[in-house]
């Protein structure tokens, strides 16, 4: 099948899938009355799943293209550990207000990338990809240690909040927060889409990109910033949800090819659909209780990734 036709087919399928997710809840199957408490909660929940999934998948696509590494995901440069550290600090310090935790998580994620990039760059020159990756891994593990320290100091009641946050959850604390995250993810995605030809050139290597007229250094720095923006917004809203940002870009590439003009829309749609579907499962399997959505994404995403790995027998980024 033609890749373009496949893309449109997938888009229609994804919208149908989202509609299905709206009809499924812990109470059973069926459309709720959209003005009722249940209706409001469900549509915001599905919207949150879509925003977070799309944000993580967009960040994953960018990271994999910029770092030219199929194992890259939104968290590879420490966005997750930085955001977790920010969130834990907010919980331990008892910051008030329901924007305190997501706000400090977002700031933690964004500042971490800045730190990783600065550490990797030798005196104002462009850092190599290896330096960025290494710096990301080391900063991540240092922040991981700090996080563990905060957790050991946390009051017993706060521990539950941190643990749940690290497993990821789409229980949105406020509709305003959801809108803020949606705006950030949409802006990040639109900017990434506008520069799709740049990412295409960069996947061939910085030298080739330079030869076709792309300012590689600015493009890499800008791309990392966009990836961090969308990933931090997603993490601030829902905590650390794994696998979506790693698996979806590969799945989308298998579906519509490696051209970022098609890959970015497909990944955003696919990420939104995958996470919403996983969350529908997480909130519906039990009539009154929930399981953390991160467990579902890992249980479904891991085997799916292995399936892709076996089918393709190798990688073409």
């Amino acid at each position: 099948m033609n890749r373009r036709i496949r893309g449109w087919f997938f888009a229609v399928l994804a919208l149908a899938g989202l509609a299905l997710c709206l009809a499924i809840g812990p109470g059973g199957f069926g459309w709720p009355d959209w003005g009722s408490p249940v209706g409001i909660a469900r549509r915001e929940r599905v919207a949150a799943g879509f925003v977070v999934g799309a944000g993580l998948a967009t960040a994953g696509v960018l990271m994999q293209a910029l770092l030219r590494n199929p194992l890259a995901d939104p968290y590879v440069l420490g966005v997750s550990s930085g955001a977790a550290l920010g969130a834990a600090a907010a919980i331990v310090l008892g910051a008030a207000g329901f924007a305190a935790l997501p706000g400090s998580a977002f700031a933690g994620g964004a500042l971490t990338l800045l730190l990783v990039y600065t550490v990797a760059a030798p005196r104002g020159r462009a850092p190599s990809l290896y330096a960025i990756l290494l710096s990301g891994v080391i900063v991540s593990s240092v922040f991981g240690a700090l996080l563990m320290m905060l957790i050991s100091l946390a009051p017993a009641a706060g521990l539950r909040g941190i643990t749940w946050w690290m497993l990821g959850s789409l229980q949105v604390p406020s509709a305003g927060l959801l809108r803020a995250a949606a705006v950030l993810v949409a802006a990040g995605w639109a900017a990434a889409f506008a520069f799709a030809p740049e990412w295409n050139a960069l996947t061939l290597g910085a030298d080739t990109a330079h030869n076709v007229g792309v300012r590689a250094r600015a493009a890499v720095a800008g791309g990392l910033a966009l990836a961090t923006l969308t990933a931090s917004a997603a993490v601030a809203l829902a905590g650390l949800i794994g696998f979506v940002g790693l698996v979806v870009p590969h799945g989308a590439r298998a579906l519509v090819g490696a051209d970022h003009r098609r890959l970015l829309p497909a990944a955003a749609l696919g990420g939104g659909l995958l996470l919403t579907a996983c969350d529908t499962l997480a909130r519906s399997v039990h009539p009154s209780a929930e399981i953390p959505v991160g467990i579902v994404t890992a249980l479904l995403g891991g085997p799916f990734f292995l399936y892709l790995l076996r089918r393709r027998k190798g990688w073409s980024a």
Partner: protein, 300 residues
């Protein structure tokens, strides 16, 4: 506090000091014949707030040499008792430095701690309070352990009678459904079998979470919304002064009838409400008063 180094001279001095204190207590205590402290209960450390309250309520506050950081009642007594660590998570060295002879705990994070303490010759007892009926039982147990059996018996009987009276008086019909929120992120509520659920019953309500046979569980927000509870009770464990604002911000909750009609009950001190201890009757009565006031608001 100095690290406890083995020092025979200091140990002798310690015995002398304890002896002096005991003598002082025997001579100048408020009672004519003070109860004898059984051997092994001279220095008590309580690692749970409700047990600290029970120790004080049975008249053994003067034996208390350590507490958890969560023990905050009675305020005048806990202010002079040093902290041996967090609730269920003692700092072992600090605990040992208090030279306890008896350690009381409810739940422990480190399950190997009791064995270590017992090897060090320290008596260790776990006293659990999961249901209302566990409370008088726990009071008798603590009373027996610290040699205040008579006081404990009187207190236990008073609480047993109080619970029985309130059970008999609780109206079985037309009870408002109460959604009790313990924690906000994720939302955590109480199920059947927790003493809080029983207290809601005695206070004239019906706990929404009673359909789930667990003490506490992470509730699905949609399930709470679909159940449309009559009253929303913020238990205050997260110490949130802005419980109502937080509730309204959550998708769908502002459209709930209970929220629209402001049948939201918050502000009962968590040390009273969330503690299965000697003040359980006071807590139940306060809850009953507040639930009734919320129902009044619903009436036209």
């Amino acid at each position: 506090m100095n690290a406890a180094a083995p020092n025979p001279g200091r140990a002798a001095a310690r015995v002398a000091v304890v002896g002096l204190c005991a003598g002082w207590l025997a001579g100048c205590g408020p009672r004519a014949t003070p109860p004898a402290t059984p051997p092994g209960a001279e220095r008590i450390v309580s690692l749970a707030p409700n047990l600290t309250e029970i120790v004080c309520a049975v008249g053994a506050a003067d034996l208390l040499v350590g507490r958890s950081s969560a023990c905050d009642y009675p305020p005048d007594i806990v202010a002079r008792v040093p902290v041996a660590g967090d609730f269920g998570r003692p700092a072992t060295e600090r605990l040992l430095a208090l030279r306890p002879t008896l350690v009381l705990a409810a739940d422990l994070e480190d399950k190997s701690l009791p064995e270590g303490l017992r090897r060090a010759g320290i008596r260790f007892d776990v006293v659990n309070c999961r249901t209302l009926d566990d409370i008088p039982r726990a009071i008798r147990e603590v009373g027996r352990l610290c040699g205040r059996g008579a006081e404990a018996e009187a207190l236990a009987v008073r609480i047993e009678r109080g619970i029985a009276e309130r059970r008999a008086a609780a109206d079985a019909t037309a009870r408002p459904v109460v959604y009790a929120e313990l924690w906000h992120d994720p939302i955590l509520t109480v199920g059947a079998g927790s003493f809080i659920s029983e207290m809601i019953g005695l206070a004239g309500g019906r706990n929404l979470g009673d359909t789930v046979a667990r003490e506490y569980f992470e509730a699905s927000p949609e399930w709470v919304l679909a159940a449309a509870p009559d009253i929303i009770l913020g238990l205050g464990m997260d110490g949130a002064a802005d419980f109502e604002a937080r509730l309204r911000a959550r998708p769908g909750f502002a459209a709930l009838r209970a929220v629209r009609e402001r049948r939201i009950v918050t502000g009962i001190p968590p040390d009273l409400l969330l503690r299965p201890g000697p003040r359980v009757l006071e807590a139940t009565d306060e809850l009953k008063r507040r639930l009734a006031a919320a129902v009044e608001r619903a009436a036209p």
